[in-house]
Symmetry: C2
Subunit: 359 residues, 2 copies
Amino acid sequence: MNIEKSFMEHGGDIYTEGKFKGIKLLDFSSNINFLGVPESFKNNIHNALEDITCYPDLKYREVKYRIKKYLKQGITEENVILGNGAAEIIKLTISTLKKPCIVVPSFSEYESVGKNYCEEIVFSPLNEDFSYNYRDILEKLKECDGLIIANPNNPNGGIINKVAFEEILDYCEENKKRIIIDEAFVEFVNDKNQSFIDKCKDFKCLFIIRALTKFFGMPGVRFGYGVSSDMEFINSLSRHQIPWNINTFAEIAVKSVLRDEEYINNSKTLLEKERIYFTQNLQKFKFIDRVYEGYANFLLLKLSSITGEEIFNYCISKDVLIRRCRNFRGLDDSFIRLAVKNRGDNNKLLEVFSDFESN
Amino acid sequence: MNIEKSFMEHGGDIYTEGKFKGIKLLDFSSNINFLGVPESFKNNIHNALEDITCYPDLKYREVKYRIKKYLKQGITEENVILGNGAAEIIKLTISTLKKPCIVVPSFSEYESVGKNYCEEIVFSPLNEDFSYNYRDILEKLKECDGLIIANPNNPNGGIINKVAFEEILDYCEENKKRIIIDEAFVEFVNDKNQSFIDKCKDFKCLFIIRALTKFFGMPGVRFGYGVSSDMEFINSLSRHQIPWNINTFAEIAVKSVLRDEEYINNSKTLLEKERIYFTQNLQKFKFIDRVYEGYANFLLLKLSSITGEEIFNYCISKDVLIRRCRNFRGLDDSFIRLAVKNRGDNNKLLEVFSDFESN
C-alpha cells in the first residue's frame, strides 16, 4: 500500500488522494449517510441535463420554497440564504464576527475561517465527557460578539440540551450577540425537536446552518443553507454572494430529496439500529477505552494503550480508512472517529479490528 | 402573455421568471453555444452519480491537469485557480483592486463587484464603432491599479488587437498594475491566437478568466477558472476560497468536454456559418441601423427609429426573448443584443422581425 501521507485538514483528503491513484478504500472517515444518493434525485437527473443550458434561477425561488415547506416552523423564503455547500454559509457568517466563541473540539472549518477573518478567537472546550459546558459558554460570551456551536457536534455526536441552552439564547438575544448553530447532522437525530429551527422566529440572534451533504448523502452536489429571522443580517450576507452560486444539479436535488419521506424515514430508522449495533460491538475491544454516546452517524472512540496512528496504519493496510482526531483542537492521537455505515461495512470494520487485536 | 417585467440585471432573469411560471420562451438573450450540452458530458454523468457521495478532491488535481492539457502554452496546474462559475473568479480578482479601470459597455458584474469592494471605479468607454480605445485605456491606467477588459467584449463581440495592446501589457508589467482579461467567449473566435493565454508566461500582470459556461453550453454546471503566472497572486486569491467550491458534476464536465475535439470544432464551424447568415439577413431590416461586427456567438444591433422596448415587447408577444441593452453603461434603448443560434431558431427570429416590420 503506497498512499501518500498527505496533510489531512479535512479528513477526506487521503481518500481523494487514494481515489486519484485508483485505490478503492472502505471509507469510515467521511460522515455521509450510508444509504447513499436518494433515488428520488437520481430519477430527476435528466431534468438537470436539460436545464444546465440555462442559467439557474437568479433568485432560486423554487429552491427556497421547498426549504420553507421542509422546515415548517413559520420559516419563510426570506429567512433562507443559500450556499455553495455549508462551507459558503460558514464563511459568510463567521467572517462577520470580530471575536467569536467557538465550542471545541469541532469542525476545523470554523477556526480556519475565524483565523482568516476575525480579530480574535475564544474557545469554549467541551467537558471531559464531551457534554457542552453551558456555564463556560455563557461566561466566554461576555467578551465575544458571537457563538459557533454544532448540534450535534462533530466529532463526538453530542447534542445541545435545549433547556440548558435557554439562558444562552436569552442572553444573546438581549445583548445582540450572534448564535450560529451548525445543524449539518441534525436530521440524523431521532428526536425531531432537537433542531433550533423552531426558535428562529422568536430569536433574531439565531442563525442555523443546514446542508444536503451529510443526511442526503451528496457532498459532491455542494448545497447548504442558512436560516434566520434577522432579515437585516440575511440581506447583509447576501450582498457578499456571487450570482448563481447554486448549480442546477443542486437545485434539482433540493426539489427532489426534501420531499422524499421514504428516504428520510428509512435513514433515521436504519441508522439508529446500526449505531446501537456498532456501539455494542466496538465496546468489546480491549484497545477501545470508551465509545462516546453520539446521536449522529458517527462515533468518537477513546483508545486504550494504543495510538490512533497504529490503528490507522493497520486499517489502511486492509484498505480501510478511519479518522484520526489529533488535528481536532483539544483532542490527541488517543481518539479516533468512525462513520456508522451499513451492516456489511460495519462488520468488515469490526473484523479488521478483531484481526488487529489478535495480532 | 403575462410575464412580469422584473428588473433584469443579468438579462436572463425574465427567462427564469418565465420558466418559473411554466412559460417556454425562445431565448435570444442568453449567449450560450447553440449546440447545447456536449454528449461527452452527458455520457459521463453516471460517474457523477457515483461520485457525489464523496467530497470532491479538495485539491482538484485532475481538473487542473485537464485544464493544463487544454490550454497548453506552458501553463501549469499551479497557474490555475478554479471558481464556482466565472462569477467567483471575477469577484475574487476585482475585489483585490482599489481603483480599477473598466472598459465599458461590458458585463455588468465587473461594475457590481467594483462598487461593492473597490474604493473608486474609472471607466474607459469603447470608441463609437465599439473598438477599444487603447490610448484612453493607457491614459486611465496611470491613475488606476488594474484594468478589466473582455476579449471578446460583451455585448458587441469585438476582440482585442493584440499588437495594439502590447504597449498596455508592457506598461502594466513594468508598473505592477493588474490586467484582468475576461475570455469567457474567446473559444468562439475562429483565430486560435486571439487568446492572451500565450502571454501569461511572460507577463505576470496578466490574469485570464475562462469558463465552461458559454462555449460548452452549461451555465447550470457553474465552472470558471483563472490563469496567471503570478503565483503570489494566485495563492492570495486561494486564501479567500471556501473548500470544495467546485461540485462533482463540474469536475466530470471538465474531464469530459475539454478533450471533446469534435464538439469544439463543430461549434466553431457552425457558429461562424450562422453568424454570417444571421448578420446578412438582419442587415436587411429597415428598423435596424447597424449590425456590429462581432466574433462571439452574439450580435449587437443599433436600432433605427424604434426603441428596444418596442421590439422587445413585440418579440415577447411571440414568445421570443431578446436582450435590451439600456442597462449596459454607455448604451441606451436604441441597442439590442441577439444570440446567434441554430438555423431554425435564427429563421424564427428573422420571421418575427419580418412580421414586426410589416405591421
